[in-house]
C-alpha cells in the first residue's frame, strides 16, 4: 500500500512539474538545405522567439529532399508529426488538408499581419478559404546568361524578347561553336521548366486551373499540346550539352559556373550554388552573369507576363499548438524578412521588404514577381506528386523526341484522371 501511495505521489508530482513549467515545444521539420546561412538564420529566429516567449521551445529538424517527401505521409499520421513542416503548397497541401492532417489557422492570425503578405501567396497555402500554412519566400525560374559566351557569338541577350528571337540566338550560339544550353536532364524537373513555362505562356493561369477542375478543357487541350510542340522546336536545334540526360541538376549548375554554356534555365536560387559547384569554386562573376526572363510566345498572350517558380513556406499540422501559428507570424515578420533579403538568403515574400535586397539579380527577380500578373507554382508540385512526376517524365521524353506533343498531353491527362 505504501509503495502504491508513493508511486501515485510521484506520478502526481511529475504532473505538477509539467503543469508548472507549461512547456510547449514547437517542432519544425524542413527539407535539408545546402545553405548553412539559412539554417543559422532560422535557428536565430527560433532562439529569439524562445527568449520572448518563456516556456515555449522551438526545435528545427532537417531531412533530405527525397526522404522528406516519402516519409511525410507516414509521419503526419503518427504521434511524432511535426507541428510545422516545409511545404511547396499546391495539390500536395490540398491532399494533406483534405485528409485532415492540417490545422486551420485562419482564426489565429492577426489581420494586420495578413495584410503584409500578398493575397496570391497566402492563397497558395489555403484550401477553400481556410489558411493551413504561410509562405516565407518566392522563387522565379529565369534564364541565367553567360554574357562572355553570348558576346562571343554576337548575341545580345537583352534583345531576346520572343521565342523566335530565342531560337535564332540559340542557333547563332551553336554556329559559333558554343554550347547554347546546359540542363540537368537526369533529374527531369529542370526540363519540366521549359514545358511548364510554355504551357503557362500559351494558356495563362486559366488553362492549368481549368484542367484541374475536371470540367471543360483538360490537359489534352491546345495550350498543353502547343507547349510540347514549341519545346520540340528548341530540341530540334540540339541546343543542350552532350550527355544532357545523364547530367544531374547539381552537375549542370556546376557546368554553367565553369562557363560550359551560354544559358541555364533555373531558379534564382542557383546564384550561389552554381559558384560553389564550379571547378574553381568561384564560378561566374557578377559582371559575366545576367538574367533573362523566359521569352514571350506568338499567340501566347494569355500568360505573357506570368511568372513561374515557387512559393515556398510552411504548413501547420493538425495537432500543433496554437503557438505554432503565432511563431509563423513571428518568423515571417518584416524584420526577419528584411534580414534574409539583406543577407541574400532568399527573396522575401512580405510586401515592401524587397528594398532590403542588395544583390542586383535578386532585385530584378523581386521586381518581376511584383509586376507579374500571375505566379505559377512549379507544376511538379502544383499538380501533386503523381501527376507532377508525369509532367517531369514527359518533359524528358519530349527533350529526347521519343514522344509526340499529343502523346505527352494525353499521358498527363491519364495520370490526372487516375490519381
Amino acid at each position: 500500500m505504501k509503495h502504491m501511495l508513493g508511486a501515485v505521489g510521484i506520478a502526481v508530482c511529475s504532473l505538477c512539474t509539467v503543469a508548472a513549467q507549461a512547456d510547449t515545444t514547437i517542432n519544425i521539420l524542413r527539407v535539408e538545405t545546402g545553405d548553412p546561412a539559412q539554417k543559422a538564420y532560422l535557428s536565430t529566429i527560433g532562439k529569439d522567439y524562445e527568449a520572448s516567449h518563456p516556456g515555449v521551445k522551438v526545435n528545427f529538424e532537417y531531412l533530405a529532399n527525397e526522404a522528406y517527401k516519402s516519409k511525410l505521409p507516414t509521419l503526419l499520421q503518427s504521434d511524432a508529426a511535426p507541428d510545422i513542416f516545409y511545404s511547396w503548397g499546391g495539390q500536395t497541401l490540398a491532399d494533406q488538408a483534405k485528409a485532415g492532417f492540417l490545422k486551420d489557422i485562419s482564426g489565429l492570425l492577426n489581420s494586420d499581419f495578413l495584410d503584409t503578405v500578398p493575397k496570391s501567396a497566402v492563397n497558395a497555402y489555403s484550401v477553400d478559404d481556410k489558411i493551413y500554412g504561410l509562405p516565407i519566400y518566392a522563387t522565379e525560374v529565369i534564364f541565367w546568361v553567360n554574357k562572355d559566351l553570348t558576346a562571343k557569338a554576337g548575341v545580345d541577350h537583352t534583345q531576346i524578347k520572343t521565342w523566335d528571337d530565342f531560337l535564332k540566338a540559340v542557333q547563332k550560339i551553336k554556329d559559333a561553336g558554343v554550347t547554347p544550353i546546359v540542363a540537368g536532364g537526369k533529374d527531369k524537373w529542370p526540363l519540366h521548366f521549359y514545358w511548364a513555362y510554355l504551357a503557362l505562356r500559351y494558356g495563362g493561369a486559366d488553362a492549368i486551373n481549368e484542367a484541374m477542375q475536371d470540367d471543360g478543357e483538360n490537359f489534352e487541350s491546345e495550350p498543353f499540346v502547343n507547349a510540347g510542340r514549341t519545346f520540340q522546336e528548341l530540341v530540334k536545334l540540339e541546343p543542350f550539352q552532350s550527355g544532357m540526360m545523364g547530367t544531374s541538376y547539381e552537375q549542370a549548375s556546376g557546368m554553367f559556373g565553369d562557363g560550359a554554356a551560354a544559358f541555364h534555365l533555373m531558379g534564382d536560387w542557383d546564384y550561389l550554388p552554381s559558384r560553389a559547384r564550379s571547378q574553381s569554386g568561384k564560378g561566374l562573376s557578377d559582371e559575366q552573369l545576367a538574367i533573362m526572363p523566359f521569352p514571350m510566345i506568338d499567340g501566347g498572350e494569355a500568360g505573357a507576363d506570368a511568372t513561374f517558380g515557387g512559393i515556398n513556406g510552411w504548413a501547420v499540422s493538425h495537432n500543433a499548438p496554437d503557438e505554432a501559428a503565432d511563431f509563423l507570424q513571428h518568423m515571417i515578420s518584416d524584420k526577419y524578412q528584411r534580414e534574409a533579403a539583406k543577407a541574400g538568403i532568399f527573396i522575401p515574400i512580405v510586401k515592401g521588404t524587397d528594398d532590403a535586397i542588395d544583390n542586383p539579380f535578386f532585385q530584378q527577380v523581386a521586381r518581376d514577381l511584383t509586376q507579374s500578373s500571375y505566379h505559377q507554382i512549379f507544376l511538379d508540385q502544383y499538380l501533386g506528386a503523381s501527376v507532377g512526376a508525369t509532367v517531369n517524365d514527359i518533359s524528358a521524353d519530349l527533350a529526347q523526341e521519343v514522344i509526340t506533343p499529343e502523346e505527352a498531353a494525353a499521358q498527363i491527362q491519364e495520370a490526372w484522371d487516375f490519381q
Binding site: 536532364g185 537526369k186 552532350s242 501533386g384 506528386a385 503523381s386 512526376a389 521519343v402 490519381q419
Partner: protein, 310 residues
C-alpha cells in the same frame, strides 16, 4: 466394453501431451516462439496482407484508403509500357546472371580454388565488389561512366573517340547497369563454387588424370557434376536476386533515361512510393511477391527436389 479398445491410444495421447508439457519442450515453445512469431507476423505477414488489401484502392497514403477501384491498379500496371520494360529488364538481368555471371564465376573459381597464398589474394580482390555497399558501388560506377571526367571518358579519349554518355543513352544505359551487376555479384557466386570445389575429393581427380583425362575433361566430367548442387543453389540466388535489384540502379540511372532502365522494384519505388500512389505500389508489390513465390516453388520442384536424378 466398447470403450476399452480405445482407451490405450487415448491414454497415450494424454500421456504424450503430459510429456510434452512437463519435459520442458512446451515451456521452451511458449517462451521462445512468441518473440520470433510476433515480429514475423507484425513486420512480414501483416504488411503482406495489408498491401494485398491496399492494392484495390486508389490511395495516396494520407488517412484511410476509401476509394475502392477494384482491379484498376492491376489493369493500369499491365497496360503501362514502363512496366513492360521493367519486366523485360528483370528478365535480362536473370539471363545475364545465368549466361555471363555464373560461367565467369565458375571460370575464376576453377583458376583459384586451390589453397595457396596468391589464390587467397585473388579471392579477396574478386570478392571486394560484393562487400561494397550497393549504393556506393552505383555511385562509383556513375563516376566511371561519366562522359566528361570518367574512366571510360579517358579511355575513349586515348582512342580518339567522341565523348560517350552511356548512362544517358536509351539503348545502352541498361547494358551499363548489367555490367555493374555482373561486376558486383560474380564474387559471391565464385565463393560458392570455390567452397564446393574444395569439397571435391582429390583422389577422384587423381583417378581421372591417371585414366588419361585432360584438364578440361576433369572439369567437364568430374568437377562440374560434383558441384552441381552448388551451381543449382547459386542459380537460385541469381534469379531471386535479379527480382530484387534496386539499390545499384537508383544512383546509376535512377531508372532513366525516360524510365528505360527500371527493374520491377525500382518501378515500384518510382511509381508507387515517390508518387505517393500507395495503392498502385501495393499492386506492384503483390505481383512481385507472387512472381517470387512462383519462381521459388517452381525452381524447388524442377531443380532442387531431392528425388530427382541430376
Amino acid at each position: 466394453m466398447p470403450t476399452i479398445p480405445h482407451a490405450p491410444p487415448h491414454l497415450s495421447l494424454v500421456q504424450r501431451t503430459k510429456n510434452v508439457l512437463t519435459n520442458g519442450k512446451f515451456a521452451a515453445l511458449v517462451l521462445l516462439l512468441p518473440p520470433a512469431l510476433i515480429l514475423f507476423s507484425l513486420f512480414v505477414i501483416l504488411p503482406l496482407l495489408q498491401s494485398g488489401y491496399f492494392a484495390f484502392f486508389n490511395w495516396n497514403g494520407y488517412g484511410e484508403p476509401t476509394d475502392y477501384v477494384g482491379l484498376k491498379n492491376f489493369e493500369q500496371m499491365i497496360g503501362h509500357s514502363v512496366f513492360h520494360s521493367a519486366i523485360w529488364n528483370t528478365i535480362k538481368i536473370v539471363l545475364v546472371s545465368l549466361l555471363v555471371q555464373m560461367p565467369l564465376a565458375l571460370f575464376l573459381a576453377l583458376l583459384i580454388y586451390k589453397k595457396t597464398p596468391t589464390n587467397a589474394l585473388f579471392r579477396l580482390i574478386f570478392f571486394v565488389p560484393y562487400i561494397l555497399a550497393e549504393v556506393a558501388a552505383g555511385l562509383i560506377w556513375s563516376f566511371v561512366f561519366d562522359g566528361h571526367y570518367g574512366v571510360t571518358a579517358s579511355v575513349g579519349e586515348t582512342f580518339g573517340l567522341e565523348p560517350f554518355f552511356i548512362l544517358a543513352d536509351r539503348d545502352w544505359a541498361f547494358v551499363a547497369v548489367m555490367t555493374v551487376i555482373v561486376w558486383k555479384y560474380f564474387g559471391f557466386h565464385m565463393m560458392i563454387y570455390i567452397a564446393a570445389l574444395q569439397g571435391v575429393p582429390r583422389d577422384l581427380i587423381e583417378a581421372a588424370r591417371i585414366e588419361g583425362a585432360k584438364p578440361f575433361d576433369i572439369v567437364r566430367y568430374v568437377q562440374i557434376p560434383l558441384i552441381k548442387p552448388a551451381i543449382i543453389v547459386s542459380a537460385f540466388f541469381a534469379i531471386i536476386g535479379a527480382l530484387q535489384v534496386f539499390d545499384v540502379i537508383i544512383p546509376l540511372t535512377n531508372g532513366g533515361p525516360s524510365n528505360t532502365s527500371h527493374t520491377i522494384v525500382t518501378y515500384l519505388y518510382t511509381f508507387g512510393l515517390t508518387r505517393l500512389r500507395i495503392g498502385f505500389g501495393s499492386a506492384i508489390g503483390v505481383v512481385l511477391f507472387i512472381t517470387a513465390v512462383a519462381v521459388a516453388i517452381f525452381y524447388q520442384r524442377a531443380a532442387m527436389s531431392p528425388g530427382k536424378k541430376p
